[in-house]
């Protein structure tokens, strides 16, 4: 499996999804996952094998075992020597090789992202030659080239996981380089897993893929930790808090939220609006709020991490996700876990599997304002959505997603459903 992010280091939703999928698969007992990522922290959970792509050699270097054995994060020195036995070309011309013949990664999303993607794919060639595996699974467009390369080398089926497309990120004005990488990955894939039917349709229509190899594979959420469940909300009486949580950027539609806020505040002043997150449109939003004269009711606490996110949900009466185009959007599920009713745009993939949320078109600010107002005003609606929301979201688990992914895997590697007793037992246990 090729991935770019993995908890505990989280940049966005990709890390959470990668974790859920691998964990869901690992629970079946007979799936062994090797997760290749650019720069692990060494604190990843131990249910899967991590390969640190920064420490896979692409050039022969004569290194002593004793000198390097303690330097590895992720895989071991033994793995290193095995990888070194499978070099396939001379990459001495590459910049930034270290003393072990490896290419370093900055991690995250640096400026030279395209170069890193290319390096990632080069290293994947080494891995594909040295490792034994049945199937390749690549997460998000950054790792598609690596997946394609590995498929070319090994001939094993390739499954790619579309967490987002450039059409979502750019409101239709795609970056041609990114598009070509995405399209190439999809063209070579044997199975395309999309996080929602919405994304699946984008893949079919914008990337011209065969509908038969595209499947919608909705995300899920993990049950909350004890620690998070015990957070006591710190709410002021008589005041309601409406929260937007996510990057403040074009894709997420913060301006529609602000317009709705303006309409609500014309009627009722005891509601506060919280824009949690940071992003390129943050300053513009602050200015806009000020020009509407509602800056005293709009709050911009900045980027929230870890526990802060859940505190934010717990302290809110309404969660709003007005995304213009959201492949899935895990945030409303998390909000619902905390008993916070959600309003989401109809252009969000998670709406396909949720029924106890209010769905409005992202551009329909009147409807959005109306929904915000009524949840704040009518306790019956708030309580119903909160209670039923928790029940609903508790039924959406990664275990079930893992089983569906497994079904696809079985088809890809030419195995039927019923030829594996261990697998069937796992199905029984999870259900």
């Amino acid at each position: 499996m090729f991935g770019w992010e993995f908890p505990p280091k989280i940049y966005g939703g990709l890390a959470v999804a990668s974790y859920g999928i691998t964990k869901g698969l690992s629970l079946q007992g007979d799936v062994e996952t090797t997760f290749c990522m650019p720069k692990p922290t060494g604190q990843e959970e131990g249910f899967l094998k991590i390969v640190n792509m920064s420490q896979v050699p692409v050039v022969w270097r004569d290194v002593w075992y004793d000198n390097i054995k303690d330097r590895f994060i992720g895989h071991t020195a033994e793995d290193y020597y095995r990888f070194r036995d499978h070099l396939y070309a001379d990459f001495n011309y590459l910049q930034g090789l270290d003393d072990m013949g490896c290419i370093g990664f900055a991690g995250g999303y640096p400026g030279n992202l395209h170069e890193e993607i290319n390096n990632f794919s080069i290293i994947a060639g080494v891995l594909a030659r040295s490792e034994q595996f049945d199937l390749i699974h690549a997460h998000d467009w950054l790792t598609y080239p690596a997946g394609v390369h590995a498929k070319m080398v090994s001939g094993k089926p390739l499954c790619i996981h579309v967490h987002a497309t450039d059409f979502d990120r750019s409101r239709g004005k795609v970056n041609p380089t990114v598009y070509s990488i995405e399209k190439n990955g999809m063209d070579h894939a044997d199975c395309i897993m999309c996080v929602s039917e919405l994304t699946r349709q984008t893949v079919i229509n914008q990337y011209h893929q065969d509908p038969r190899k595209c499947v919608a594979m909705h995300n899920a959420v993990y049950p909350l930790d004890e620690e998070i469940r015990n957070i006591v909300p710190n709410k002021k009486k008589g005041e309601k808090v409406v929260t937007y949580l996510g990057r403040i950027t074009m894709q997420k539609g913060p301006e529609y939220f602000l317009e709705a806020a303006k309409r609500v505040l014309e009627r009722s002043r005891n509601i506060r609006f919280c824009f949690a997150g940071s992003g390129d449109m943050m300053n513009a939003m602050i200015e806009l709020a000020a020009s509407y004269g509602i800056a005293d009711r709009c709050h911009f606490p900045g980027f929230q991490r870890g526990k802060q996110v859940y505190e934010c949900y717990k302290n809110s009466d309404v969660f709003v996700m007005p995304s213009v185009s959201e492949p899935f959007g895990i945030a409303p599920l998390e909000a619902m876990q905390c008993g916070c009713p959600s309003i989401i745009s109809k252009q969000s993939g998670c709406g396909e599997i949720l029924s106890n949320v209010i769905k409005v078109d992202y551009w329909d600010i009147d409807a959005m304002a109306d929904a915000i107002y009524s949840i704040c005003q009518y306790d019956a609606l708030h309580d119903y959505l909160a209670e039923e929301g928790i029940k609903e979201v508790d039924r959406i688990t990664w275990e079930k997603v893992g089983l569906r992914i497994r079904e696809c895997y079985n088809q890809l590697i030419g195995r039927g459903w019923f030829d594996n007793g261990e697998y069937l037992n796992a199905v029984k246990n999870i259900k």
């Binding site: 209010i358 009147d366 109306d370 009524s374 306790d379 019956a380 609606l381």
Partner: protein, 495 residues
Amino acid sequence: MMKTICLYFEIHQPIHLKRYRFFDIGTDHYYYDDYENERVINELFEKSYKPALQTMLDMIAENGKAFKVAFSISGVSLELIEQYAPEMLDLLGRLAATGCVEFLAEPYSHGLSSLGNADNFIAETKRQAKKIKQLFGQNPKVFRNSSLIYDDEIGAMVADMGFKGMMVEGAKHILGWKSPHYIYSCAQDSRLSLILRDYKLSDDIGLRFNDASWSEYPLMADKWLSWVASLPEGENVVGIMMELAALGYYQPLSSHILDFLRALPKLAKDMGIQFATPSEVLAKNKPVSPLEVIYPVSWNDEERDTSSMLGNGMQRDAFNKLYDENIVGRILASRDRRIQQDWDRLQATENFRFMTTKNNGMGNYRGIYDSEYDAFTNYMNILGDFLKRVKDMFPDSVENDELNSLYTQIANMGEELNVKDNEISRLRARLKKLGSPEEEVPKEETPAPEKKPEVKKAQAKKTPAKKAPAKQPEKPEAKEAPKKKAPAKKAPAKK
């Protein structure tokens, strides 16, 4: 004894509310989607009501009045029909004139007042009966509640209003081992007899008729009647109840449902089955035993209870706000016709059914709404505006009882004034007879010559003239009085 089919159709169409945002509260007091209302009623009339009613007229003519049928029409729907499809009133009138059709009473609003507020329930049922009398010349003797909601307490209220019978859903959970094909009596008041709906035979027509996956499809009239005929000895009354829209709308005309209906009377006669209106059924059949119903039943969904209307917290919240005792008292006390009409329309059960979160397996029709939350939000916004209007009519400090007594006082004063007006005109007439040949009107222009009659008149009128202005403002009938009196008052001043 012959088996008897008691055929009954409900005619009711939701009044669609318009999209009403919270920022309209307090500024916009018109709540209805006129376009949708007109469209729906016209579509229904063309596709279903008109052909169905026409067919029934023909059937009565063809079968020498052997075909009997009963209707109930909610007051709010009658208003819609009057406005958009008056032709239908004509059809119904012709049906009424045949003597083979009985009209039943029901709550005017087609609402849940039987569960919410007894005073209102009685008041609106009476209004509905009055309207039926006006339009079709019949005094309803049998009652049916909105969605056939029934429990013992409702039965007792209906009996108190003087109805002889009531239509009730023959739900398995209230009947147990009993058969729905007998007449039962209300457990709390034996004066009220209950006619039970046979949901199996009713739904065969109303729900499954055009369902090709049904094992009995296609359903023919003789097959259906043979099911009726094969009922055990003694089980004589078969209550077939459904919406009129089932004929032609839910079951399209192309399914030949009207031909099915048309074939019934003749075949029934051959098989020894007769048709009867609810009143006739009640006259011929005596209740076999009381039927105890502790929790309300209705004809909705498989559960046949009120869960599709009051099943979730949102519905109950809306219901409680709507039937708040204080509010209902004020509405009943007020004589404002717009408030009254809005109140009727807001009570209608569909408003609650649109908010259901139940999965009934058939998909929910939600009118103009996307979802149950949308329905709730929109309804609550409108209700918020409506309740505010009701509260604004009278100051908060005034109690409902006080209001009522004030209103009675006003009404009494109005009567008093009427009496006095009559007295005045009587006296005037007598005055004329007594002599003074001069006309009264020209008197004002020429004040000098005739003094004597002027003074007399002024005195005669003085007493009511003084009282009148203080009492009159709310009473339109009394308005004419001060106008008449004004000239009389002027005259002495000029002197």
